[in-house]
Symmetry: C2
Subunit: 225 residues, 2 copies
């Protein structure tokens, strides 16, 4: 083992843009406005975050199928430039607003506020907000939702939780997906669950195979839906 | 199919921070300084980008094993707060500088310049710069390297290339990894290769299984090493 050195970014450095206090403060204020609007209108909003291909869209599809007879559901789907996933979710007959961020790697409360204006909130009980595929920046940008889910896949490797602590700090539920591939990937699920608990003991962990639907009822229970 | 609406981020919007021209310009200038320094010192630098768990570290490990008798190799390893991967690479006896970005989701030319100051460039022929796991923002921040590799994994799903066009525009080589899992994942590799070619016809695509080493010689050939 031979690490020669560690270079650390310091706060206030020229490109340390994510930490810009003004941006985060402005975002937090808009998030609070969103939160109040959603509460007033009786809409329960749930963030779904996670990396590319973790299974966010598949999880939302399965939850929509199970919940759409009980709730009037809408989905916001964040992506850079495409509407592929929005169309996939739209096939289930729920209201979908695609949010294209351009080159931005996360949703923010401003874009969500715009999307909320396009939605009939009186006709909505439950709103899933699927973020852009990214395990880093969405953590710093609250959107105004009531709960946050992080979806991770065993295919992301054994260190993916410890390497991305910030996103788990505020997560209510961590969904560990594609558990059918855990053995092939040599990933220990109990260790991943333990890694999540070490970061936030209050975060509930659920194991799923979103393709077959295994574990989705447990996610719904963990969200008290 | 039922998409009600598409909300698009507009240039100049409050949170459209990645597009801030001043930041990108300052980064480009520092990248140019890095490029000149590396050229002057005869160091060939190669970026390795890709999402979490795509196999960036595994690819670097395999290339190091094959190339370290021909080149004096150094590795910069970007991560938020950990040095797990830097230690893994360091076991192969090459010089490693860990770069911790804190909460930032990508390396930038400023952090790379700092790391270059910690390295004995006279004793280095080849430098791999492994970015933070992210398929979005690294695209906008050139670091001063000669070539860029993007590593993608079939486990990221069938739409991962079309959903993240920007990172492939400047990529010299796209490595499609974990091809042993393609069938289980229902992913068509020829389609992924075609998606890359549509974005940038000059990008070479190579299929690999970085765990076994399959295809790594072809990556090395594609880089003219």
């Amino acid at each position: 083992m031979k690490i020669n050195d560690v270079v650390k970014a310091e706060e206030g450095e020229i490109f340390d843009i994510e930490l810009d206090e003004n941006i985060l403060k402005a975002n937090a204020e808009l998030a609070q406005q969103n939160r109040e609007l959603l509460r007033k209108q009786g809409v329960k909003a749930i963030d779904v975050m996670g990396s590319i291909g973790a299974g966010k869209t598949s999880l939302i599809e399965k939850m929509v199928q199970k919940l759409k007879t009980h709730y009037r559901i809408a989905v916001f789907k964040g992506d850079l430039t495409t509407t592929i996933d929005a169309e996939i979710i739209g096939k289930h007959g729920v209201n979908v607003v695609a949010i294209n961020t351009g080159k931005e790697c996360h949703l923010d409360a401003n874009l969500v506020q715009k999307a909320l204006r396009r939605l009939d909130l009186e006709a909505t009980d439950l709103l899933f907000i699927e973020n852009v595929g990214n395990l880093i920046c969405p953590a710093e940008f609250p959107l105004g939702s009531e709960k946050r889910i992080v979806v991770i896949s065993v295919t992301e490797g054994p260190y993916m939780v410890v390497k991305h602590p910030f996103i788990f700090m505020d997560a209510d539920v961590a969904v560990i997906n594609k558990i059918d591939l855990a053995e092939a990937m040599g990933v220990d699920i109990a260790k991943l669950q333990n890694d999540v608990k070490k970061i936030n003991p209050k975060t509930k962990t659920v194991t799923t195979n979103c393709r077959t639907g295994k574990g989705v009822d447990q996610v719904i229970a963990a969200l008290n839906l």
